[in-house]
C-alpha cells in the first residue's frame, strides 16, 4: 500500500497541425516507442497500459481496445480514462494510483489526440448539456470568454496584460522543437488579431494539434533500474465543481461564487501534502495548462502565486519568463501546442525532463521541484507536484 512512484521514461511526438502521415494508432506508437527507448526497455517491461483521449475528436468508440497495436497493450491489462481537457494529467494520475496501489510495478500511460481529424468546436460543444446549454452555447472559446469578461470586470487587468502571457508562451515555444506553433509575436500582434468572442482574440487562444505523449511510471522498488534519473511524483489531486455552464458565476452558494475554486482547492490539497506555502518561491518551474492568455493572469492567483488581482503585476514583472523567479511553461504550453488528450501529459513530461536536466534550449537551471496543472470542461482541475527527491512516504 502506498508505493512511491517515479517517472523513468518520457516519449513524445512533435506536435503539429496535421499529421496525415500517420493514423491514430501509429501516432500513439511513435510516442510509445520513444518512451520505451528512453527507459531502455522493450514492451515486455510494461505491466499495464493506461490510455486516454477525448472520444469525439477522433470518433473511435472503445479507443483503448482499438489502439492496442500501437499502445503496447497487446495481451496486457489495458484501461482507458477520459476526463476532457484534463485527460493528459488524468493519465499521469491514473498511472500514479496504479503503481502506488502495488498492483503494477511498471505502468505506461499515454495521452494523444489527432485534432485535425474532426471539427474541434463541434466535438467540444457536445460536452454541454443538450437541453440547457448546447443550443445556446458553442465550444471552448465562449466558455473561456465568459471567464475573461468576468475577470476584466472584477479587476484592473487589461487585455494587454493577457497579451503578455500570449507572447510569453509563444516565445518560450521557440526553444521547444516539439511544440506546434513557433511564432515570434508581439503584444501588438495579439491585440490586432481578430476577436473570436470578446475579449478573447485569435492570438489569445491555443491551437489545435495532432500529437501523442507516453510516460513510464514505476514503483520505488524498481526506479533505479533505468538509465534516466527517476523523477518522483510528490502529490496529486483533482477537483471538479460544476455541471452546468452558468453554475459558477455569481452563485454565492456554490463555492462562494468563485468559479475557479476547483483549482484553488486542488492546488491547496497538494501544497498541504508537500509543504508548499509560497509557490512562487518554492517551485523552480511550472507547466500549467493555460488554454488561453487570460488564464495566465487569473489562474496564477488561484494557484497562490500572488494575491487576487495580482496576476498582471506578477506576470509583467517577468517572474514567469525564462530567467524569472518561477518560469511558467518553458515548453510553450498549451497556447503553443494542444493535442488535447496529450496536452496535460506533456506538462508532466516537460517538468520531468526539466528535473532531469534534459530540456536543452528550454532548460531552467537547477530544477528540483515542479508544478503541473491540467484543466478541462466545466473547470475540472488536476494538480501534480513532481520532484527530484524521493518523498518520505507516499502522500498521494
Amino acid at each position: 500500500m502506498g508505493k512511491r512512484v517515479a517517472v523513468v521514461g518520457v516519449g513524445m511526438t512533435k506536435q503539429r497541425a496535421h499529421r496525415p502521415d500517420v493514423n491514430g494508432v501509429e501516432i500513439i506508437n511513435e510516442a510509445v516507442r520513444a518512451a520505451l527507448a528512453d527507459a531502455g526497455i522493450t514492451r515486455a517491461g510494461i505491466d499495464a497500459v493506461f490510455i486516454g483521449n477525448m472520444d469525439h475528436f477522433e470518433g473511435i468508440n472503445y479507443m483503448e481496445t482499438w489502439s492496442v497495436d500501437g499502445s503496447g497493450g497487446l495481451m496486457k491489462p489495458v484501461m482507458k480514462l477520459t476526463t476532457g481537457g484534463t485527460t493528459g494529467t488524468t493519465m499521469a494520475m491514473a498511472g500514479y494510483y496504479a503503481v502506488a496501489s502495488g498492483l503494477f510495478d511498471r505502468v505506461l500511460v499515454i495521452g494523444w489526440e489527432k485534432n485535425s481529424e474532426s471539427d474541434t468546436t463541434g466535438a467540444i460543444t457536445t460536452a454541454f448539456d443538450p437541453f440547457w446549454d448546447r443550443p445556446v452555447f458553442a465550444g471552448a472559446v465562449a466558455g473561456l470568454a465568459l471567464e475573461a469578461t468576468h475577470y476584466l470586470h472584477e479587476t484592473e487587468a487589461t487585455e494587454e496584460d493577457a497579451a503578455y502571457v500570449a507572447v510569453r508562451e509563444r516565445k518560450h515555444a521557440l526553444n521547444n522543437p516539439y511544440a506546434h506553433l513557433h511564432l515570434d509575436l508581439t503584444i501588438a500582434d495579439i491585440m490586432n488579431s481578430p476577436y473570436l468572442s470578446w475579449p478573447v482574440k485569435m492570438g489569445d487562444m491555443c491551437p489545435r494539434s495532432d500529437g501523442a505523449c507516453a510516460l513510464l511510471l514505476v514503483s520505488e522498488d524498481r526506479a533505479d533500474e533505468y538509465p534516466q534519473k527517476p523523477v518522483w511524483i510528490q502529490a496529486v489531486a483533482d477537483r471538479h465543481l460544476w455541471a452546468y455552464t452558468s453554475d459558477p458565476y455569481g452563485n454565492e452558494s456554490i463555492a462562494g461564487g468563485n468559479w475557479f475554486a476547483s483549482l484553488e482547492r486542488a492546488s491547496r490539497d497538494v501544497y498541504d501534502k508537500v509543504g508548499i506555502t509560497d509557490p512562487l518561491k518554492q517551485f523552480d518551474v511550472a507547466e500549467l495548462y493555460l488554454p488561453y492568455s487570460f488564464a495566465g493572469l487569473r489562474w496564477m492567483e488561484s494557484l497562490g502565486f500572488c494575491d487576487r488581482g495580482g496576476g498582471p503585476e506578477l506576470v509583467l514583472s517577468g517572474a514567469t519568463d525564462m530567467g524569472g523567479e518561477c518560469p511558467v511553461n518553458p515548453s510553450g504550453g498549451v497556447m503553443s501546442s494542444n493535442a488535447i488528450g496529450a496536452t496535460g501529459l506533456l506538462r508532466v513530461a516537460d517538468v520531468a525532463l526539466q528535473i532531469q536536466g534534459r530540456c536543452e534550449e528550454r532548460q531552467v537551471p537547477d530544477v528540483e521541484l515542479g508544478l503541473v496543472t491540467g484543466f478541462g470542461g466545466c473547470m475540472w482541475s488536476d494538480v501534480l507536484i513532481l520532484g527530484k527527491e524521493k518523498p518520505e512516504k507516499a502522500k498521494g
Binding site: M75, Y96, L103
Partner: protein, 381 residues
Amino acid sequence: MEPVAVVGVGMTDIRKERRTDSFADMIFEAVQKALGDAGMTIDEVDNVITVSNDFFDGRTISSMAIQDACGSYNKNITTVEGDGTFGALFGVMRVLSGSYGTTLVCAHQKGSESESRLITNAMFDPIYERSLGIEAITSSALQARAYMNRYPVSEEQCAMVSVKNHGNAFKNPIAQLPLALTVDDVMASPYISDPIKLLDCCPLSDGASAVIIANVDRAKKITKKPVWVKGLGFCCDAYHLGDRDLSEVASLSQAAKAAYAMAGISDPAKEVDLVELYDAFSYMEPMWLEGLGFCERGEGGELTASGKTAMDGELPVNASGGCLSGNPVMVAGLNRIIECVLQLRGEAGEHQAGKVKTALAHGTNGPCGQSHCVWILGGDK
C-alpha cells in the same frame, strides 16, 4: 494485495426505457441506495470514479452530466471509460494507493437514448472496417460461428443459456426481461446474423449502479458484512478480428489466471461457488466459462446442458438473469459485481443461490470479448 472490501451497493432497476429519469436522476438513485446500504453519508466518500461512454451518451466528457448527482463536488474524481468492472477495479487501486479510505464507483447507461448498432459500429476502425456496417451483433456472430465450428457446442445448448437466464430473471426484482422460454422458443426466434437469433441477444437497457469500496480499517467501521476483494485481473487481446482466433479465449484466461493467483485459487470449479459473467449473447456464457477454467475448452455447452449452472445447481451462473435479462452496457459489469456481493451476503432474496463463500464477477470491453476483467470476491477476509 491488502484487504479491500465492497461495503455498499446500489442498483436502479433495469428497464427498456426510463423516460422519467435523466442520467443524473438514475445516478442519484443508485448512489443514494449504495450510501444507504453502507450506512454512510456522502462526506464519508473520499473519492469518486464515474463510468460512462461518450458515444452512448452522445456527449463528450459524458461524466459531466452526473457530477452533481454522484456527490463529486469538491472531491477527487475521475472517469474510467469502459465496463463497470474496469472502473471499479480502478476504484480499488485508489484505495490501495493509500490516498483514500473509501471510493464510490458509479456507472450509468441509457440504451434507449441512442441507436446501439450505430454506436457499436463506431468501435470498428474508420478506414478499414466501419463502412462495412459491422457492429456488435454481426461481429459476435463471427465469433459464435468460429466457436461452434471449432468445438462441440450447439445452438441448442446456447439456447439453454437464454432459457435459464431469462427464467432466473423472474426471481430478480430489478431484471428487465423475465421470460418463460423453451429451447424451441429460442430456436424459432428470427436470426439476426447466423448463428445469433433474437432470443440469443441481450436487450437494450437503461440503468445505473454504484458500489462503495473501502480499505480494511474503514470497512470495519462501516459494515458488519464487508465483501472482500480477493483477486483481480484484466487483459486485452488483439484488436483486428482477423489477428486472433475468435474461438480462443486467451485474454480472458490470462485475466482469470491473474485473479485466481491473487485469490489463491487453483481449482475454480471446486473453489468458486457462484459466477456472474457478461453474457451479452448466449454463446458467451459457455465460452467464458471455458476461459475462466470451469471446464475444458469445448465443454461449455455440455456444462450448461447438465444443469450444473442452474440457480440450484453446483455452480450457479447468472442467477441474477445476467446481461441477457438486462444489459445497461457500461453498468452491466458493475451489476455482476453487485450481484456477487448480494449473494455473498446472503441478501439476494428469491434468487439467492444457496450458501456462497466465493464468487466470480466478470465484465468485458471491445468487440468479441477482446478485453476482459475478472473479480474474485469472498465473504471471508
